[in-house]
Amino acid sequence: MVRILGFLVGLVFAGVAVISFFVNLVGNIQSPPEATAEEEYHVHPKALHLQSDGPFGSFDRQQVQRGFQIYKEVCSACHSMKLVAFRDLHELGYSEAEVKAIANQWATEVPSVNPDTGEPATRKATPADHFPAPYANETAARAANNNALPPDLSLMTKARHGGAAYVYSILTGYRNQPTELVKKFPGAKTPQGLHYNPYFANLNIAMPQPLVSDGQVTYAEGNPKPTVDQMAKDVSAFLVWTAEPKLENRHHYGWAVLLFLLVGTVLGYLSYQNIWAEAKRKVAPVGPLDPVNKAKRTRATKKAGVAG
């Protein structure tokens, strides 16, 4: 009874799936899906190699500091970074006094309350504060940005496919829209107020090109030239740190844990061999076998068709 019912149920489900298959097949043949501009012109991120890559990766403090400088002087005008606190900057090699100064001189102040009147007020940031957001709220951010919302950058390299390479590619990917694209897809012309960028999913990004010219930011002595490419790399490296500040700890502990497990597993394997020696000896004796036994074993193995 179970089998008869099952047979019918199986026929119904498999049948409807096959009907769906053929209906779709006919549909796709009669009106093949049209190509879209995104499919043809969207490109995957360029390769980007950072010192934080790979299982031994660590942060290049100099580079991440330069990236922080880019964020502070360029990105932070529009993008918040709510998950990072000034105190976290210690990890990048800034001294206590430097962190205090950075917090104190931050362009945006921290929302607060006037202690005398209770009126809303602002105060200077301290190392304990998270980076203050440039806009008071989403409405203000949209109003100032042509109705687009600049996303928070704290987790950006973990929140996009491609990670740091994606950020680097977007920053260096601005160009004029190819004329063939507009010719082929007249509807896909970059609208007023948006900017063509083939690394962006729908090709048109609201953010104007942020890193425009070499030397836009002045690096301290001993650093590479601040070309657009270099700046884009540096800020990408910084965003790797903001998204995963514990990356170095993770790698260090990871190797220690793997070493521990390796030793434990090898010891476990040896004790397993030892314990089973008595039980297994009958199947696969350890050490040289006398010829009679060996022949017997080979015959038996062959007969059973099992690799012993």
């Binding site: 089998r3 099952g6 409807v16 096959v18 998204a243 793997l258």
Partner: protein
């Protein structure tokens, strides 16, 4: 419990005797996972995944309890509390990544465990209840994992909750009220998040309880084995401890090694980037996909694209639930008396196809919707149902199995009868 020659527990100290007379807990443990549980001596490494599943359940419960001490189940604060764990809690990044990847590894080992049971006929008499309790555990795991994925309240959390609870609205009349009742609102929000957290904390303990039943039911007939032949004499078995504790022990080390490679060096590899974007009810992600372990079922859901009598969505949802429910009937669908696939040449072929089929379904479920992917998914879905409900019963009726070994010890010892003395007894000289 299982065999006449199972060694009874013998307390070795006065204190042990005193305790055993009052609460025979050591006796229970000894009989369950100690020297008192005889296990077929020929188990291969596919049999190690049951114990491994228990290990990962433990990992999940332990890391989860500590995470819950720092997590804040609020629609405004959940996302930030996860980031607080990642940044400010001591070793919080490790706890959270261990829990995330622990879920994936729990599913990996359980999938191997399930497919091992499928191949070696472990669902057949007298182990039907073992199989069905295992499926109950699997369903509970799915519910727990789904609700756990909602807790970080990222974009995929939110939209995953939206889509999965939306399944219920496919059912006519009662569907929509049920969905609203489950969510505690018209869309996922605070009420849904709080109850998901509560249930996500509860269900693992239910899983642990059903696991006890699963093992209890297993220990009545004893473990199946690669030949599928019943245990006949003491020669066929070895005591669980120390033989299988040693084997499971080192293998658990190897699995934990693989798990730590992922946890420490590619912790987000199996996750989705969109879940690092806070939930936003107003912005739908371009591709909503569940976690990888649900992909085959997601592919089945999306394969039904045509309204045949009832709406396509209802077909999809029924098929998705049906694809798991039909497994409960497996012991009666496959009536072949031979358990092990090793002795079933036709079954073996189709089993290979099933593995391929599930892999295709998994790929399709995670891939973007394109006409080709949908078509692949539809064919794979048709095969999935045909395999269990049509092919398997027919194969079991018409197949001629290979000759079985007359006993486990014969198959293992390759006829060296003189050597086949039970462990602990004097062996004859070579």
């Amino acid at each position: 419990m299982s065999f006449a020659w199972a060694k009874p527990y013998e307390p070795k100290t006065g204190l042990g005797r005193w305790f055993d007379e009052r609460l025979p807990l050591p006796r229970l443990v000894y009989g369950a996972i100690g020297g008192g549980y005889p296990v077929p001596r020929n188990l291969n490494y596919w049999w190690n995944f049951g114990v491994a599943a228990g290990i990962f359940l433990t990992v999940q419960i332990v890391t989860g309890i500590v995470l819950a001490m720092h997590y804040y189940a609020s629609a405004d604060g959940a996302f930030n509390s996860i980031e607080h764990i990642m940044r400010d809690v001591n070793a919080g990044w490790w706890l959270r990544y261990a829990h995330m990847n622990g879920a994936s590894f729990f599913f990996i080992v359980v999938y191997v465990h399930i497919f091992r049971g499928l191949f070696y006929g472990s669902y057949k008499a007298p182990r039907e209840l073992v199989w069905m309790l295992g499926l109950v555990i699997y369903l509970l795991m799915m519910a727990t994992a789904f609700m756990g994925y909602v807790l970080p309240w990222g974009q995929m959390s939110y939209w995953g909750a939206q889509v999965i609870t939306g399944f219920f609205s496919a059912f006519p009349v009662v569907g929509e009220p049920i969905r609203v009742w489950l969510l505690g609102g018209y869309a996922p929000d605070q009420a849904a998040l709080t109850r998901f957290f509560s249930l996500h904390y509860l269900l693992p303990f239910v899983i642990a309880a059903v696991t006890v039943l699963h093992i209890w039911a297993l220990h009545i007939p004893g473990s199946n084995n690669p030949t599928g032949v019943d245990v006949k004499t003491e020669k066929d078995t070895l005591p669980f401890h120390p033989f299988y504790t040693a084997k499971d022990g080192w293998f658990a080390g190897a699995l934990l090694f693989a798990y730590c490679v992922l946890t420490f060096f590619a912790p987000n590899y199996l996750g989705h980037p969109d879940n690092y974007i806070p939930a936003n009810p107003l912005a739908t992600p371009a591709h909503i996909v569940p976690e990888w372990y649900f992909w085959p079922f997601y592919a089945i859901l999306r394969s039904f694209t045509v309204d045949v009598i009832i709406p396509a969505k209802l077909w999809g949802v029924t098929a998705m639930f049906g694809s798991i429910l039909l497994l409960f009937f497996l012991p009666w669908l496959d009536k072949s008396p031979v358990r092990s696939g090793s002795y079933r040449p036709v079954f073996k072929r189709f089993f290979g196809l099933l593995i391929l089929d599930v892999l295709v379904l998994g790929y399709v479920g995670g891939a973007p919707i394109t006409p080709l992917n949908i078509a692949l998914g539809q064919l794979a879905t048709a095969y999935y149902f045909a395999h269990f409900l049509i092919i398997l019963p027919l194969v079991s009726k018409f197949e001629t199995p290979l000759p079985l070994p007359s006993s486990i010890s014969e198959s293992v010892l390759h006829g060296e009868k003189a050597e086949a003395a039970p462990i602990g007894q004097t062996k004859p000289a070579n």
